[in-house]
Amino acid sequence: MKNKFIIIFFYIFFIEPSAAEVNNLESKIFKNLRCIVCQGQSIAESNSDFAQTVKIVVRDKIDQGDNEKEIYEFLAEKYGEWIIYKPKFNYINSLLWFSPYIVLVFGGLLIFKYLRREKH
């Protein structure tokens, strides 16, 4: 009985990834790029001229075989980190990525402090 459950569980979690994932790369990249001539829009959402051009460039780069990271690096070199919506993890951005989890751990410890321990 128990084994059956485990099998069902694994089956539910690990259904094979569909091909859609690969096609999503393009739109994933578009969503992670800021349209710098627009007001708070991503390249994916914008229909500005600039966005259209960036879309062509990104598609070309994907066809050339560049991976996601290389494309971001290329664009960041030309337009600055400002163009990327998900800041990369580096020295400057380390606090951005860490501090939410610091709050999480600290909060957890604080609550734990107030819990009644088992009496010995």
Binding site: I36, T53, V54, I56, V57, E77, G80
Partner: protein
Amino acid sequence: MKISFLKIISISLVAFALLVFFLALNTDKRYSTEKIVGKSVDNFEIIFLNNDEVFKKQDLSNDKFHLLNIWASWCLPCKKEHSILMALKKENNLKIIGINFKDKKLNANNFLRELGNPYDFSLSDKDGTKTILFGVYGIPESILIDKKHKIISKFIGPLDVNDYEDILQLVNEK
């Protein structure tokens, strides 16, 4: 003891944040792609405006400065800066490369016939994808490249008299 430790941390964090806000009120928040200045020009291949030949990075001369000017016939500020470019044309130490941006060939040529052609090389970037290499996002933009093919200055928006002076100074240094 632990409470006062928390006190100090929270107070200093808040004070720090407020201080940064105060400083931020007076900093320039405008976006620019000046980060590209100081970098070497990437390899590029851009076709000429009036024939199918290709201009490459290797075609840049080694003993002259280059000014890349990105323009279009439909762009009004480009007309405004045109006289400056014509004046710069007289400068021996400088070659001007015009990159015609998302434009029709006929209109572009009419524009140059009417106002004069300041460019030593006229190139064309029909879909705007080539100029991405220079961090272009709105025209006109101009990029000054030194003899070692390093970008030494970038001008966003139409060139004016001050820019003209700056360019002359940079080009004639040493």
